[in-house]
């Protein structure tokens, strides 16, 4: 008789449980992770394993201290997502204590001290990253030369050698660490003094061997772009923030490209496919907790991050700036929300969320 069961609205029942969303985010990092591992060796995988273990332990510890159900909160996988994102962002073959310290800071101070998932005003992974970056600048900027650009006779360390480098084990004897460490494309471009962009690209193997932008890094970024596209298709987040961020970077780098002169700020392709641009655009700034809420708000939020990334990259002291830009716009997100309250259907023009009363 009840062919069409009568139920009240809402009729859409998208089963977006937190753990399912988080699981899809984890899956979506795979293409980027594969690209990172292919180009830079086992380091990133080791980072992720270390980070995940630390994050789980920290989350469980704090939950036990707060007398909350440990298993319930661990099974929402949010700590794991923070750990994996931080593990992807950290340089491969970073020492174990660096990973531990960053993840512990992210989970305990940036997330749990503010009240746990949903209450943290700042993106935990980025807080951990920034704390490490300003505390240990040398360890945090020691990157690896992509596999195929290594000089003759030098190869990336194998799994056991990598573990020896990362963990407090006796260092491998048959390995010269300096041989396979190198600058990132953004870093080397920042130190370009006085060459025309074209000349600089020809002289630097990182660029001259590449298809689109920095060698190796282009594939890492394309991998994250693919993962992000899949998440977008899965409707984990809306297109507004990533599109605004990428558009802002493209626009600004287009304006300041300067025809490739000696003071050029770099081509749009370089800025889009280098550093943490795509990881940031699809995995960091789409965090529903720390970003703006409305669609218009997300456009402003994303564009702000894009502008800040470009400004800090070009005129700041650091080669990459996604973490700083995200944290700065995290500050601004509540203010953006206040001014971008959407109009409720059938109601007059939207008002500010908080109105000043004298």
């Amino acid at each position: 008789m009840t062919l069409f069961p009568r139920v009240t609205s809402p009729h859409g029942h998208a089963p977006q449980r937190t753990d399912q969303v988080m699981l899809r985010v984890l899956l979506a990092t795979l293409p980027g992770l594969v690209a990172l591992t292919w180009n830079f060796g086992w380091g990133t995988l080791i980072n992720i394993v270390l980070a995940s273990a630390t994050a789980t332990a920290c989350e469980a510890g704090v939950m036990a201290l707060r007398k909350r159900p440990v298993r319930f909160y661990l099974s929402d996988l949010s700590a794991l997502v923070t750990a994996v994102l931080l593990g992807l962002a950290l340089p491969p073959l970073a020492p174990w204590w660096l990973v531990l310290m960053g993840v512990a800071f992210a989970i305990v101070i940036a997330k749990q001290f503010y009240g746990g998932l949903g209450y943290n005003p700042f993106n935990p992974a980025m807080v951990g990253y920034v704390v490490l970056l300003i505390s240990f600048p040398i360890e945090m900027t020691t990157w690896i030369t992509p596999r195929e650009l290594l000089p003759e006779g030098v190869s990336l360390p194998g799994l056991w050698q990598s573990l020896q480098l990362v963990l407090p084990l006796p260092a491998p004897t048959d390995l010269a660490v300096d041989a396979f460490t190198g600058a990132t494309p953004l870093d080397s471009f920042k130190h370009n003094t006085g060459l025309l962009t074209e000349q600089f690209y020809q002289q630097t193997p990182l660029f001259s061997e590449a298809e689109l932008a920095g060698f190796g890094w282009e594939w890492v970024n394309l991998g994250f772009l693919a993962g992000g596209g899949w998440l977008l298709y899965q409707r984990i987040f809306t297109w507004h923030a990533p599109a605004a961020m990428l558009a802002a970077i493209t626009l600004l780098s287009g304006i300041f490209y300067d025809g490739g002169s000696s003071t050029s700020a770099g081509s749009p392709l370089m800025h889009l496919l280098s550093g943490a641009t795509m990881l940031g655009a699809f995995f960091i700034i789409t965090d529903p907790v720390t970003s703006a809420t409305s669609n218009l708000g997300r456009l402003i939020y994303g564009a702000g991050i894009g502008i800040l990334v470009f400004v800090i990259r070009v005129w700041g002291n650091y080669p990459d700036a996604v973490a700083f830009a995200v944290l700065l716009m995290n500050f601004a997100a509540p203010l953006i929300d206040n001014y971008t309250v959407p109009r409720t259907y059938g109601h007059a023009r939207a008002k500010r969320a908080t109105v000043k009363k004298d």
């Binding site: 310290m101 101070i109 001290f113 704390v131 300003i134 505390s135 240990f136 600048p137």
Partner: protein, 237 residues
């Protein structure tokens, strides 16, 4: 003024109404110079001196200065004591004076000092005001020291480094080397570290206060022996 409770003045300054952790006054120097124990101690002592002196002086003139001009008068007094302290530091601990730099003259603008002058010293006798200044200064100084120690240990891996700046050459070997080669968690000695450590200390004080209050409540709630419940609703026959 009726009975003055010296015990209460002391506990207010040191804990209950601590200028740094409860009133949140004087945060600018608190955050800026607590990178190491010696800096914290230097500024703590200077503030203690100014606070005690200005409190007593303000208390002395409280009946002569009218309501309308009291703030400028207080500031003049505080500035005088600050200048004295500054000259003293220049004479005896010149290097530390150079390290602390602008924060010694800036003691004039430390809200704790003007706050105590206005809230306490202008209403109480000399002795009580002096004690209040001393205890508030001590409370502020201890918090400075704790923050300085935490930040020095985390940031440099040392404790009590450079104490000779304050205690003469004999203190050179007070330095404790805990770990590392002078390069620790750099963020601890940078401004964010100051905010984080201060925030954690404030939280810690809340936790301790809550524990104490909980224990006190538990003690009070114990039922009195021989007490009976009395029925207060319905028809009482």
């Amino acid at each position: 003024m009726s009975e003055i409770n010296y015990r209460e003045i002391s506990s207010n300054g040191l804990w209950n109404n601590n200028p740094a952790l409860v009133q949140l006054l004087g945060l600018c120097p608190l955050l800026a110079v607590t990178g190491s124990v010696v800096n914290a101690l230097g500024l703590g002592l200077a503030t203690l001196l100014v606070l005690t002196g200005s409190n007593m002086a303000v208390s002395l003139i409280r009946r002569q200065v009218t309501e309308a001009v009291r703030i400028p008068a207080f500031v003049m007094i505080i500035a005088t004591f600050t200048t004295c302290t500054e000259l003293l530091m220049k004479a005896y601990t010149f290097e530390l004076y150079q390290i602390l730099g602008i924060f010694i003259p800036l003691i004039v603008t430390n809200c704790t000092i003007l706050g105590r002058a206005e809230a306490f010293a202008s209403k109480h006798g000399v002795l009580a005001s002096g004690l209040d200044g001393l205890m508030m200064g001590l409370g502020f100084g201890i918090v400075l020291l704790v923050i300085g120690a935490i930040r020095e240990v985390l940031g440099h891996g040392t404790l009590f480094a450079d104490m000779q700046l304050l205690f003469g050459p004999g203190a050179t070997n007070w330095k404790l080397h805990l770990y590392g080669d002078g390069q620790g968690l750099l963020v601890a000695v940078l401004p964010p570290g100051a905010f984080i450590v201060t925030g954690l200390l404030i939280a810690l004080k809340h936790v301790i206060d809550k524990r104490i209050a909980g224990r006190r409540a538990a003690r009070k709630a114990a039922p009195v022996k021989g007490a009976r419940r009395v029925r207060t609703t319905g028809v009482i026959g």
